[in-house]
């Protein structure tokens, strides 16, 4: 099964469960407060998923390592490499 199909199955399952519950197809007598929450549940889920995504990406951007040391080390080694190669007869 492709990833797309997995997603579609998952969404269809969630969507049909939600639809069945809100439309009362199962014959359950849910209290009205419960039904109100249920009605807007997809919107809540969507918003919290968005918040999670933004939060995660934001956190990861903020904690993305800046490899200053690696860059400095490389610069030093470039000088070393040039000198050594020139000594071995390299024409740049």
């Amino acid at each position: 099964m492709t990833k797309l199909a997995q997603w579609l199955w998952g969404l269809a399952l969630l969507g049909s469960t939600w639809a069945a519950l809100t439309m009362g197809a199962l014959g359950l007598e849910l209290p009205s407060s419960c039904r109100e929450v249920l009605w807007s549940l997809p919107a809540y889920l969507l918003v919290s998923a968005g918040c999670y995504a933004l939060g995660t990406v934001g956190y990861r951007v903020a904690t993305f390592h800046d490899c200053e040391d690696a860059a400095r080390e490389l610069q030093g080694q470039i000088q070393e490499a040039r000198a050594d190669l020139a000594r071995r007869g390299m024409r740049f």
Binding site: R60, A70, Q75
Partner: protein
């Protein structure tokens, strides 16, 4: 981190003139180049340094796609300096895809492991011994360098670039669940036969090619180990990330999403 010492003899012997080669493993480094006259001697020097310090058996295969800047001439000088058993020139007449460069390189490789990396100094050869140790530790089919884990990171990226990179990585992880944290990186070690099999299976180009390799690897039940790396963005030459790259990345991502 590849901290646990692998079984077998320790390869570390920095000052030995003729370092021992543990087992018969040989590592072929593929360097596809196009206009890398400045960088090629430096990356080769760093590779030779890293391998002679770690004592692993190696060869460097330079695949130049007919660069007009004289990369080929530089490569020939390097072959003279380091010997044609260590530096192998396998040029091609014109610029062809990265995938075909790997096919071309693998065909001429005598090692049982292949290391692919960029020749523009953004990937430092000092990580290769860690890749090798990691591979031995878990007997992995692939070891992938990652900028997104542990001590990994980048240098020379502004905020915008970081946001795009992290955002793209996040979306990719959600959609594809690939089991590896850095899909667009191209600093990796493969078993030779695994790389051959994967190239055969992969159809995309550019960034997406690297991504597809890992996704297909998961499909074929190959194991992937990871080593954090620092990515130092191009010291010489232009770095490429434009709107075109982003669009083709998204197209590739969605194609993989729908087909794998």
């Amino acid at each position: 981190m590849a901290s646990g010492e692998a079984s077998g003899p320790s390869p570390r012997s920095p000052r030995e003139p003729e370092p021992r080669t543990p087992r018969l493993d040989k590592y072929s480094v593929l360097l596809p180049t196009y206009n890398e006259r400045e960088n090629l001697p430096l990356i080769v020097w760093l590779l030779v340094k890293s391998f002679s310090e770690s004592g692993f058996n190696y060869e460097i295969i330079i695949i130049d796609d007919g660069s007009p800047d004289g990369t080929r001439d530089v490569a020939e000088q390097l072959e003279k300096i380091y010997g044609s058993d260590k530096i192998l020139l396998r040029p091609r007449e014109q610029k062809l895809g990265l995938g075909t460069a790997y096919i071309h390189g693998v065909k001429h490789a005598t090692g049982n492991y292949i290391i692919i990396m960029d020749a523009d100094l953004s990937h430092h050869p000092k990580f290769i011994p860690e890749f090798i140790r990691k591979q031995k530790e878990g007997n992995f089919d692939i070891v992938s360098g990652t900028r997104y884990k542990g001590n990994g990171g980048v240098y020379g990226w502004d905020l915008k670039r970081k946001i795009i990179s992290r955002g793209a990585n996040f979306i990719t992880q959600i959609l594809l669940r690939p089991g590896a944290s850095d899909l667009t990186g191209s600093f990796r070690l493969y078993r030779k036969e695994v790389l051959q099999k994967l190239i055969e299976k992969c159809v995309s180009k550019g960034y997406v090619f690297q991504m597809e390799m890992i996704v297909r690897a998961r499909q074929l039940n190959y194991t992937v180990g990871e080593v954090p790396i620092s990515f130092v963005d191009r010291v010489y030459g232009e770095s490429k990330l434009g709107g075109n790259e982003i669009v083709s990345f998204l197209k590739g991502l969605l194609t993989l999403f729908a087909t794998t």
